[in-house]
């Protein structure tokens, strides 16, 4: 099975229908394990029990960037390879990415109030993630504003690739600027600085949320293919009536 085979929407619908129940089951199992481990993880010596917020904040923050990365690859698929499902993938991922980014901002803010003494600080990391959230909303608005899906796809693909410049800014903002946000503690040179009692639940939750994204994304892509099928059939119906 290659990407070319998946270029056929009917074949994609058939394959995704077989895979989705397994993905959903794996997501539920991993989320259950991750939530149990998060609940039973010890308190941090500095943060106390608020460290539990990290188990949902960090996976959502990672996914906010990962989803934009997926959309960027899909945008290349639209502009360079003209893959028929590339813009379907990009359009379907945007609302899910926006939701993860919203959760990263919200949970970060709820962690910041007791730990930093403020819900919000205009530092480089927080501001660049807020910009990412606004870019998600802008992209969704663009998709809705242009009626023809192929025209909307090209415009959205260009905007997505321009917006991808923000990803390294988010990642390295804590190194390039003096920020209130702490530097990387998991994905860093020299390995993680986290104790296993925090690292394992964090990684389990990260994999669980990633599986959740893949499941929701496949389901949303199926919906988008059906929406386009409805659109083309309605246009066919309208032309039959006009003839």
């Amino acid at each position: 099975m290659t990407l070319i085979d998946l270029a056929n929407p009917s074949r994609f619908l058939a394959l995704s229908a077989r895979v989705l129940p397994w993905l959903a089951a794996a997501t539920v199992i991993l989320l259950t394990i991750g939530l149990y481990q998060s609940a039973t993880a010890p308190d941090d010596y500095q943060q106390g029990a608020t460290v539990k917020i990290m188990f949902i904040h960090v996976p959502n923050a990672w996914l906010s960037m990962f989803v934009w990365g997926v959309m960027s690859v899909a945008s290349l698929g639209t502009l360079v390879w003209r893959h028929p499902l590339a813009d379907v993938a990009a359009k379907s991922a945007a609302p899910i990415g926006a939701a993860f980014t919203f959760l990263a901002l919200l949970t970060g803010s709820l962690w910041g109030r007791p730990m930093w003494g403020t819900y919000w600080e205009w530092d480089a990391r927080l501001t660049s993630v807020l910009i990412l959230f606004l870019m998600y909303l802008g992209l969704m608005a663009l998709w809705r504003a242009v009626e023809d899906p192929s025209r909307a796809a090209r415009a959205a693909a260009v905007l997505t690739l321009v917006g991808a410049i923000n990803l390294p800014i988010i990642k390295f903002s804590v190194d390039w600027w003096n920020t209130l946000h702490q530097p990387a503690s998991v994905m860093r040179m020299g390995g993680s600085t986290l104790d296993k009692s925090f690292l394992i639940p964090l990684l389990v939750m990260a994999v669980a949320f990633t599986l959740l994204f893949v499941t929701l994304h496949l389901a949303a892509m199926r919906n988008e293919i059906l929406r386009r099928r409805v659109r083309s059939l309605q246009m066919m119906q309208a032309s039959q009536k006009a003839a």
């Binding site: 029990a49 608020t50 917020i53 919200l106 709820l110 059906l226 309605q234 119906q237």
Partner: protein, 59 residues
């Protein structure tokens, strides 16, 4: 399990995540139902795909 003096922040974070995930699942499920209903309506009105297959022929 004691959540200490900041329990409201922790509970709100998990509740917000649960609500947003539930909304995402609801959006996907309702959208699927909506699209398949529209395809069934088109099928009933005699509109078929160019391949000749039924509008509702969806794996």
């Amino acid at each position: 399990m004691s959540l200490g003096p900041y329990a409201s922040f922790i509970v709100t974070s998990y509740a917000a995540a649960a609500i947003v995930v539930a909304l995402l699942i609801g959006w996907v499920v309702l959208d699927y139902r909506n699209q398949t209903r529209r395809l069934r309506e088109l099928d009933r009105s005699g509109i078929t795909r160019r391949s000749g297959r039924s509008a509702v022929d969806t794996p």
